[in-house]
Assembly symmetry: C2
Homo-oligomer: 189 residues x 2
Amino acid sequence: MLCPGPRPRNAAATRTAILDAARERFAAESYDDVGMRDIARDVGVDAALISRYFGSKDDLFVAALDSCGDGSALMQGEKADFGRRVAHEIVFEPKKAEKLKGMSIMLRSIGSAKAAEMVQSSCTQRFFGPLEDWLSGPDATVRARLLAGFIMGMSVSRELGGGTFNIQPAECEKMRDRLAPILQSLIDG
Amino acid sequence: MLCPGPRPRNAAATRTAILDAARERFAAESYDDVGMRDIARDVGVDAALISRYFGSKDDLFVAALDSCGDGSALMQGEKADFGRRVAHEIVFEPKKAEKLKGMSIMLRSIGSAKAAEMVQSSCTQRFFGPLEDWLSGPDATVRARLLAGFIMGMSVSRELGGGTFNIQPAECEKMRDRLAPILQSLIDG
DNA sequence: GACGCTTGTCAACAGGCGTTGACAAAGCCA
DNA sequence: TGGCTTTGTCAACGCCTGTTGACAAGCGTC
């Protein structure tokens, strides 16, 4: 990520690099755990530059969240296949499931009061909302909340297992097979 | 909570008061957001005293987590009624559902790397474990993980809604009614 | 009453944080 | 070449944090 030699003078590229690094950091660690100097080191830049480009740490956080796009990545593919596909990703390919970087950031920030406040507004707008629209049919609002809750909950469960669910591989398959129809039932209505 | 006048000299009572305050704080805010001085103020004591009684903030955190007991509160009552009962509590009485204070603390700490590390060991031991034992029948491990994940996920979803699910009261009933059979199916096997 | 142990307070420290303003270097234009 | 703007670095500031050691006050005991 960090290349040797002096960084070429290119404000736009540097700004983008900072935003990318911030997105990764905030998705992997809590708001409080991420330091400006950490992000700066990732990019190979002085921390002071970030303040100048983005104003404050809060502003950078919001910018990083905004740069994640909405939850549309989750909604690609066949609806009939959703349950099995997403269950598989949650259990076996969490990194792939993290195409919802925004979800990871939200998850990481529920602890910090300040971060949670910043997340809440954009959460409904860019996550619950699109999901709700995508889920046509009765009780779309409720189903969207349940769906989002379950998906995030499994991430929590994984995290508390120490990065895995801390169970046998054979059990993982069973987990996927039990999870899939539950998710699917929320899709189907 | 804080009574006027000088605190009576009683080491045991003071120690307990500190532990209680810490448990409440760590369940309501992230590890990083909770300051020693905050807890001290809750109790009406100097922050230095906490260090002397508990060693370090980390030690206090672990002690607070240990003081939460296991997840047995969740498992009281009829199994046949579990889904409906817990779904109701999650949606309408989150404070009551927080008889699992330990779960709240775990939830608050998934952000902070240090806190998460401290939580992980006791998590399996005092939460996943008892739940798994209680759920007899096939795939108890997997069902316990799913159950715990779903319950925590709904807490996250609530939190991201700003303390409520941010939906209409009528929708809340629908949410409960959809959530209940899902939880119950994981209980029944 | 004087001692000694316990209980609690106070001031201060070292370390980390986000942020700022002054300064250096690079590129552009005349 | 000389100036000017842009891009980036550096040192430092003020603030907040957990923790420590010295000190004060309460309480039982000789």
